[in-house]
């Protein structure tokens, strides 16, 4: 895959790993909020929040990637993405920066124990390797 300098990404992390989403998919980034839990849903769907009058579901990236859950901290953020017709919040440990990649490689089968299907590619930036999320897969995962 060719480097696409003009495309900007928002880089964020869970544990020690860095991930990114294309900036135009991102609606906004908000601080942790009170989440209303919903019974009988997939375990990684944590519930819903009130985003200025709109009910937005939130999912935990930790839970989706089967990384042990941790208590939310001051740096915990909800990355609200707008994808297809849905607005969904993704809980991450921290949001680092807006970045561009000098090079993007196709993803390997597994990325640090996580299925490669979740990624569009692996981006190379100043801070190291960043997994670029494939929202289709992250949001529609069964």
């Amino acid at each position: 895959m060719k480097a696409t300098e003009q495309e900007q990404y928002v880089e964020f992390g869970i544990e020690n790993e860095q991930y990114a989403i294309q900036i135009h998919d991102i609606h906004e980034i908000i601080k942790m909020q009170e989440i209303t839990q919903i019974p009988n849903v997939k375990p990684y769907v944590k519930g819903v929040i009130n985003l200025r009058g709109k009910i937005v579901p939130v999912l935990s990236l930790r839970s989706l990637f089967e990384i042990e859950e941790k208590a939310y901290t001051k740096t915990t953020r909800i990355v609200v993405v707008h994808h297809r017709e849905d607005t969904v919040g993704i809980i991450v440990d921290r949001v680092s920066k807006v970045t561009t990649f000098t090079d993007i490689q196709p993803p390997p089968d597994r990325v640090g124990g996580i299925s490669g299907n979740f990624f569009v590619g692996i981006g190379l930036s100043g801070s190291g390797l960043v997994g670029i999320l494939r929202l289709d897969e992250v949001l529609l995962h069964d």
Binding site: T36, P39, N40, G47, G53, I55
Partner: protein, 668 residues
């Protein structure tokens, strides 16, 4: 073809079809000129608009109807049972055509048979044709006269009192004229320059291309003599011949004309409805929905402002807080009014739905050989448009059942000492912010023993289970899937799906259904529905920390019991409430909430359709109007959750789906 036009056309079509339905029924009851006139107008309107939209078959069919009705209108044809049946047949075919149009699948319905029938009927008993419709008949002497309405007569008299003359003028237009319509129009407007034109046939304002004519007949009033007028008109382009005849005094007499009097009132009515119509506009439901959503947002924000005001008041007390209080109060009043108005805009009288029933019941009772008096009450009760659509099927099922299974045949009724004619009452009313619809018959009632026997035979319950059923429980078996009481399955009802569908549809609408029945005296179904689906009254309850909302329409009552009053029967906790065993459901586990120890446990008795259960909660907060929001397509449908709402403090509360709780019990 523009999509907008299509929608407008379909709306008009539906209106006119409903009108025809009503009017044909009326015509069957009494042969009134007014009714024939209105039917004729409906057929004519549809002919015009279907031609304009290019629906050829519909045009042909309405044309035939129009023709037939014209014969009735001009008293050449009596109103017979055969005629009524034929009109109904044509109407049914029109409805089929409408369905085709809705499906965008024109031509799947074959109407040729119907058209043929109409045609043969129209031609067979044809009498002489002296009216405007036959004005084009060559060789006919004199001028075909149009009927004069009361107001026309008055005008004629006025003109004559001024010393002017009134003539019937028949103008033949040259056969090689290509645009006869336009020509006729020109002639008409020329004559308007010379004097007054009281009547014209064909109606020049509603001319469409399908109208074939070579002559126009006009009633003209002016200063000219008949010779002068003749010369004037012949001088116009494309006029082949002119025939001028003075109006006969008999045609203008004001008294001794009973049919004319009724025609006058019909004319007035038309004017009135026209006036009313001009004061309404059509708005798409989508726009109203959007408006409703916006109001919903306002309602939420208002509760938040109110909350802020209260917390501020606790902290500081100065002018500005008081001011905020006033503004907030005023705002909530206005928002309340706004919400009500928007809700009202979405409401339609249930008449829309009830109107369909007389015809349906007429056909059904005829097919089944029963005599039925239909009483419809409260048809002006208003409810949300979507609800009207959703409740249609369940109601139709109930009515069919009442006629098929409920009301007995005339002989059987006579044997039982009842009136040979059965009575079916369909009634709607508002009761404490809900709509209640009753379907009541004075038929045989439901026999719990028969129901049990039938359920056992069908393997729905075991004889041992049936033994334990109370009368009420036995009767409620009719709501089980796969149940049907008719010994012979008729095509009217008794497909064994009816009552099951009735129940699930009502549950979907957050409604309840109750049956009251007395053997030999009749059955009454009572359906309770919320007024609207978008904003509901809900009871806020707490399960530990989580706030949940139970739709008010589902709540039968609230009780507090001690833990000792909850018994366990066959592994299911139940309470005994006024001799009715009600299962107790605890959803703490589902919501990952710990149980609180209380001496008196609040139980919310909820109902879905005819069933009841008691829901254990930790705390009752109070009721509030809430705006239902969906959880969105990402989460999709969650078992047990009807949606969510945003509370005054900005947090999200889930709305319980009561019918799912019942599934939990039956699933056990």
């Amino acid at each position: 073809m523009s999509f907008d036009y299509r929608e407008v056309f379909i709306e008009e079509l539906e209106e006119q079809l409903q009108l025809m339905d009503d009017e044909i029924m009326k015509l069957e009851q009494s042969d009134s000129e007014e009714v024939v006139q209105s039917l004729f107008r409906a057929a004519h309107t549809l002919k015009g608009s279907s031609a304009a939209m290019g629906f050829e078959e519909m045009k042909q069919l309405t044309h035939r109807m129009e023709q037939l009705l014209d014969q009735v209108r001009s008293r050449q044809r009596p109103v017979t049972a055969q005629l009524i049946d034929l009109l109904f047949l044509a109407l049914d075919n029109l409805k089929l055509l409408k369905e085709d149009i809705l499906r965008n699948d024109p031509s799947s319905t074959d109407i040729s048979l119907c058209i043929e029938k109409l045609q043969t009927f129209a031609e067979n008993s044809e009498v002489s044709r002296p009216t405007a419709a036959s004005a084009s008949d060559p060789g006919e002497s004199g001028i075909a006269k149009l009927r004069l309405t009361m107001s026309d007569r008055l005008k004629v008299q006025q003109i004559q009192e001024r010393g002017q003359h009134v003539f019937w003028v028949r103008v033949s237009i040259a056969s090689d004229c290509l645009i006869k319509g336009a020509r006729a129009y020109v002639i008409h407007s020329k004559m308007l320059e010379w004097g007054e034109v009281l009547l014209a046939s064909p109606d020049l304002e509603n001319l469409d291309e399908s109208n074939e004519f070579s002559e126009i007949t006009l009633l003209y009033g002016g200063t000219q003599s008949s010779e002068e007028l003749s010369v004037l008109v012949s001088g116009l382009t494309d006029v082949e011949s002119v025939n001028v005849e003075p109006i006969h005094p008999e045609e203008t007499t004001l008294s001794q004309q009973p049919p004319a009097a009724s025609e006058k009132s019909a004319g007035e009515e038309v004017q009135q409805t026209a006036k009313i119509k001009s004061q309404t506009i059509r708005v798409s439901v989508e726009r109203l929905d959007h408006l409703m959503n916006l109001v919903g947002e306002l309602v939420i924000d208002q509760t938040r402002i109110h909350q802020v005001e209260r917390t501020q008041r606790r902290r500081v007390s100065d002018e500005s807080v008081n001011e905020l209080g006033h503004i907030s109060d005023h705002l909530s009043r206005i928002i309340g009014d706004l919400q009500e108005s928007v809700m009202k805009a979405r409401m339609l009288p249930i008449e829309q739905l009830f109107n369909r029933f007389p015809r349906m019941i007429r056909d059904l009772s005829r097919d089944l050989g029963k005599e039925i008096d239909l009483v419809i009450e409260g048809q002006d009760t208003e409810l949300d448009r979507t609800l009207i659509e959703e409740i249609a099927d369940p109601l139709i099922h109930l009515i069919r059942n009442a006629i098929d299974h409920g009301i007995e045949g005339p002989d059987k009724r006579a044997d039982a000492g009842k009136n040979r004619t059965g009575t079916l009452v369909i009634r709607a009313a508002h009761e404490d912010n809900q709509v209640v619809i009753y379907v009541q018959d004075d038929g045989a009632g439901i026999d719990p023993e028969k129901i049990k026997a039938s359920a056992i035979k069908k393997g729905l319950v075991t004889p041992e289970e049936a033994e334990q059923f109370s009368e009420r429980e036995a009767i409620e078996l009719i709501f089980r899937p796969g149940f049907s009481t008719a010994a012979v399955v008729s095509d009217v009802s008794g497909r064994g799906v009816g009552m099951d569908i009735v129940r699930s549809n009502i549950e979907k609408l957050n409604g309840m259904i109750d049956i009251e029945t007395k053997l030999g005296e009749g059955t009454c179904f009572k359906i309770k529905l919320p007024l609207t689906l978008a904003i509901i009254a809900g009871l806020q309850v707490k399960l530990q920390k989580q706030t949940l909302i139970i739709p008010m329409s589902n709540i039968a009552e609230i009780v507090r019991v001690t833990s000792g009053e909850i018994e366990i029967v066959r592994g299911q906790s139940v309470i005994l409430l006024r001799n009715r065993v009600i299962p107790v459901v605890d959803i703490h586990d589902q919501f990952k909430a710990d149980r609180t120890q209380q001496s008196r446990i609040p139980l919310v008795i909820v109902g879905s359709a005819e069933k009841r259960l008691a829901l254990v909660v930790d705390e009752l907060i109070g009721n509030q109007e809430i705006v239902i929001k969906s959880l969105g397509s990402y989460i999709g449908k969650v078992e047990g959750i009807a949606g969510a709402t945003i509370l005054g403090d900005g947090s999200v509360a889930l709305i319980l789906e009561i019918s799912a709780l019942f599934n939990r019990i039956s699933g056990k």
